[in-house]
């Protein structure tokens, strides 16, 4: 495919995230890039997805994305239902009805376990961050999750400082044995897209973004992923996808800036 259009790595990641959503699915959305991915999917190939915000908002159609995350009323605009955690995270997510949950974090390990709590030594000196919020719940109860994270060695880490949200734990059947459904399906970074090996559940390289090399991908990771024999290039965004993000979904560049 020849594509001369210019796009940022944020836009490429947002489009890769959108591609993970199938029409008709129920999507649990956190703050940041997943918001852009979900609204993009809804305006393109998946008009019938239902977008849920954990604090109690169903299918919003914001005209501004807001600056302060989920608690910013801008992102609740034109919802069909205003409800509660017990409803969104309980009777939808815990009951098993959320198809896809988006997650991000400070660190992710080779088995898709996420840390959003702290960096350093949990029993000694550490720096404290957000903690779980609904992250652990989504990681535990969604049918599948999509993780988006910056591609840096300290973020793609052999071991996380604190396991806030479970991926495949130690790999293999460990997650399933605890009675947890689903698990991470994809990890999208600004250099590559990963899946998970069906047996070992170790992160497995699926595609490399345009203008990136395998060496660049691997030298900026704290662990070695499974590398398949054939390695395609990630499909770049189309001109229309880029236009939608820039002109309709995030015209104020709330998220596109970083």
């Amino acid at each position: 495919m020849t594509s001369e259009i210019e796009y940022s790595s944020f836009e490429l990641m947002a489009v890769a995230g959108a591609r993970e959503l199938k029409d008709g699915e129920i999507v649990g959305v956190g703050l940041g890039l997943p918001v852009v991915s979900s609204f993009l999917a809804k305006r393109t190939h998946a008009p019938n997805i239902t977008i849920l915000l954990e604090l109690g908002v169903v299918d919003p159609q914001p005209i501004e994305l807001g600056v302060d995350g989920l608690s910013d009323p801008r992102i609740w605009y034109r919802a069909t239902v205003h409800t509660s955690f017990a409803d969104m995270l309980g009777s939808v997510l815990h009951k098993g009805l959320v198809d896809v949950g988006f997650l991000g974090g400070l660190e992710v390990d080779a088995y898709g376990n996420l840390n959003t709590t702290l960096l350093g030594d949990p029993r000694g000196k550490f720096r404290r961050f957000t903690g779980s919020g609904g992250g652990n719940d989504i990681a535990s109860c969604a049918r599948r999750t999509v993780i988006t994270i910056r591609h840096e060695s300290r973020k793609l880490s052999e071991a996380v400082s604190f396991l806030t949200s479970p991926g495949y734990l130690g790999g293999g059947e460990q997650r399933a044995r605890l009675g947890l459904p689903g698990g991470p399906a994809r990890v999208i970074t600004d250099k590559a897209v990963f899946g998970f090996d069906p047996h070992s559940k170790r992160m497995c390289l699926e595609s490399i973004h345009p203008n990136t090399t395998l060496e660049d991908v691997l030298s900026n990771m704290g662990f070695k992923p499974v590398i398949p024999a054939e390695l395609p290039v990630t499909e770049p965004p189309t001109a229309e996808q880029v236009r939608l993000i820039r002109e309709e979904i995030d015209p104020q560049k709330v998220y596109a800036g970083g």
Partner: protein, 299 residues
């Protein structure tokens, strides 16, 4: 029966050492005027529970009023971390019982229903659960589902002494409307022994009875009603006013260091006698009127 009272009186009803549940979420409907008054009255050793930590919990922790927090984590979103909370946890000066949004909600829900425990799928396999299991007396356990034989994690209910609920409208009896998403507000209020309602707008009982579908907190659970406009400032109240980006930035800058936080506290909390003086200090009606919500947008 009218329960209408002053903020000072409602706060004075809370003894040091109480378990206070807060209704705020990040920078939405946080009980800021309440937190300020708790600090001014010198109430100490509180346990503060909340689904997702708000700036109300942050300022209470920064001021040293809190011994323990129970929450599902939380930040101010894109405007950064709750610096006072993070600092206190890093330095080990605060006991932090940390869960997730749903596990907090389930614990309040169990409390609201009078259940002895509640099973949950979340937390399994995480370090959050490892930490919870170290708490004595225990707050987490497991059992076999007597019907299927499946293993389940169980959590203990939360039963706060008092829940402070920040609402858009209430009558003197405490019948309260919450507009917009309600996160854990109802479960939390109903798990608590009593409720303090802080309302932006005082409405008549006639108004409540005209639209009872909107009532989320029934008056019979409420011990005090406080009518106090802009009592969530600088956080937002859906349909009433937007969050104050400028003042939150100022607070974020100040709370970056203990010294900066102390200056903020001296100026905006301890340096004023009451809420109305605070509102003057942040800019008065001329400044605040710019935050008033558009009725269609809600912000």
């Amino acid at each position: 029966m009218s329960k209408l009272t002053t903020l000072a009186e409602s706060v004075a009803s809370i003894p040091s050492g109480s378990h206070v549940a807060l209704s705020g979420f990040a920078t939405a409907r946080c009980s800021m005027a309440f937190a300020h008054e708790v600090i001014r009255q010198g109430i100490q050793r509180l346990t503060v529970s909340q689904c997702v930590a708000g700036i109300d919990a942050d300022i209470l922790v920064g001021a040293g009023a809190v011994e323990q927090v129970i929450n599902g984590g939380g930040s101010r979103g894109r405007s950064g971390q709750h610096q006072c909370l993070c600092r206190a946890i890093e330095q080990g000066t605060l006991v932090s019982e940390e869960l997730s949004s749903l596990s907090m909600t389930f614990r309040y829900l169990a409390g609201s229903l009078g259940l002895p425990f509640i099973p949950i799928r979340s937390l399994n396999g995480s370090d959050i659960l490892k930490r919870l299991r170290e708490i004595d007396p225990p707050v987490a356990s497991t059992m076999k589902d007597p019907f299927t034989g499946e293993d389940w994690l169980l959590l203990k209910p939360l039963l706060p002494d008092v829940s402070v609920v920040q609402v858009q409208a209430a009558d003197e009896d405490g019948n309260a409307w919450i507009l917009g998403p309600r996160w854990d507000n109802e479960e939390q209020a109903k798990a608590s022994s009593r409720v303090i309602v802080i309302t932006e707008r005082l409405v008549s009982n006639e108004t409540i009875r005209r639209e009872p579908d909107r009532t989320r907190i029934p008056g019979f659970r409420v011990s005090h009603v406080v009518h106090l406009p802009f009592s969530a400032h600088p956080s937002s109240v859906y349909q009433v006013y937007d969050f104050d980006r400028q003042h939150i930035k100022l607070y974020a800058e100040a709370s970056r260091t203990p010294e900066g936080f102390k200056d903020y506290l001296d100026r905006y909390v301890l340096g004023v006698r009451e809420h109305w003086e605070y509102l003057e200090k942040v800019g008065g009606m001329k400044y605040l009127s710019r935050l008033m919500a558009d009725p269609v947008l809600g912000y």
